[in-house]
Amino acid sequence: MPFKFFFYLIALFVLYSAYFVVTARNLFRSAMGLLAVLIGIAGMYLLLNAQFLSAVQVVVYIGGIVVLMVFAILLIADVTQKVFEQSPRWRQGLIGAASLLWFSLLAGSMLSYRFGAAAAAVDKSGSIREIGRALLSPAAGGYALPFEVISLLLIAALVGAVTVARADADNGEGKEGKA
């Protein structure tokens, strides 16, 4: 089945890139790894027939957030040369064990349940036109309200990020903004 083939292909790609992000010792390389992860996720969306989401992923995450991250890294010049110390072996082992336990709990409970029935209940086609209509509909099932709240969220992010990142007269400390 081509679907399964592409799914596993992309999943492997994403997993490997994610592994690279956390193990790379250079921050810049981590950011590039993250770029690969996000591209993989965009492919995953395409595979699930969510084309709009896929485009959002490319435009916002790949075109916006990763670029912002690279900017932040380049603002702090020596980070790219700095090789980060890895945490001690025992701690790595502990974190690994905890993650494995958590993962097996989640995977176990997920495998015990068939999501198929509920997934079938959601039959929205997901076309951009339909998204547009639902996004601005105030009626039950419409998303006009969260949509307006998002504009508040964006303005909070804008005001906050600029205020925090902007150098005041006497110092130029910065914190990464979030969007």
């Binding site: 509920a118 009626a139 969260p146 508040l152 909070a156 005001v159």
Partner: protein
Amino acid sequence: MNTVNYLGLLRLLAPETVLTITGLIVLFFDAGVMRRQSIPRRQQVAAFLLSAGAMLAIGWSRHYSLADPNSTSMLVIDPLTQLMKQVILFLTIFTALVSLESKFTPHVGEYFALLALATLGMMFLVSSVDLLMLFVSLELTSLSLYILTAFQKDKLESSEAALKYFLLGGVSAAFLLFGMSWVYGLTGETNLIRIAGQLRDRATDPVLLAAMVMMLIGLGFKIAAAPFHLWAPDVYQGAPTPSAALIASGSKVAGFFVLARMTLAGLAGAEGSGVWNGFAPGWVPVLAVLAVLSMTLGNLAAIAQTRVKRLLAYSAIAHAGYMLPALMAHNTMGTIALLYYVTTYALTMVGAFGVVAVVEQQTGSDAYDAFTGLSRRSPALAVCLLVFLLSLAGLPPFAGFFAKFYVFTAAASASTRSLGLLWLVILALAMSVVSLYYYLQLLKQAFAVDPPAGAKIIRPLPATLFTLVFLALLVLLLGALPHLLVNKLQAALVVSGL
């Protein structure tokens, strides 16, 4: 008619709209008209504008019509949500007035606008019954609070605290979102009421339990319950004191309310059981674990503190632990007790942080030493501090006593089975005794120890002093006449049926 619907939506959300406009006005007025004025003057004007807007919103929130359930599936507007919004708006006003004292930023307009935005997020949070709406408003609140934490740019602690808050908050939001996505996968619904209807017959599904645990992790972070409390001490310590006051009060009220809505309405039927010797999987035993850990860790760690803001942080963790049993009772009495507790607690916390803000501004420190001989350097402040701390400790003439009393009786009488939740109540009582020790330790410093030679008299601004005295009187009043608030809560609760 679609256009009518938009208008209807706007009318339902009149208080929020008023506050949005207020926030923008504050932002622009400060950047434009007030640009050349001195910082204290700008603070006064911005605080006045924000308070006026919030008062207007409070007035508007009293005139509402019950939302037609068909008009939107995102929000509920009922007497209870309006009451909680009023509480949050009052807390914001108090925070704004307390902010007058501190000089920590030249970006006055941005600070007060973000206060308004954080408050807006909390108000939406209180009203939302949809997972999507809930998450968006939670993010609005959190994002504004992260930024408010980072506002003191000349202090490294502030940036560090904001970064920790931001990173941990992001992780917890991820947990919440992941849990929500599972619930959506299980039910195909995002509306909490419809989710509850779908989940009724499969309450013990392992997938649901996993999803529930993840959502409780996310919300447990918001209310600073152990073991998701690690951010609290650093944030309370590092944030500018007025920001910390809002984080400790308004965000707590909204957090507990949304937790109550999520568990009582959305996960109704998946309670499980937390009675002694009779555990059954569900959200009650999960909360029981959080409660036990919070009470123990919070109180024991508070003993070792030497700085007041850190002390308040650990006591906040402990208080989250006291409040959870009221939720675990999952009956009307428990909900009333929870809301009474969190409201009085928030008022007390704003007051306590207000006192700390004054002392910190004038002595430059929030260590215990800074409070030495406070009763002689500023009697009014010292008495206010006394009222707030004794209320937090839960002593009789103050609101904190009845809060604890209601919670513990609600929890103890919740189950008819053998010991019920009594085991938790006994632990909470024991821990309250421990907490008395550290509150008295600080009060001893303020009242019994002579001020060091050359210690300055502390003079708070009239507006701040007035706010603090008002809060102290409120705490006393709600302690003497608790039914004032309880009756209101009860009436509202009957109508809304949470």
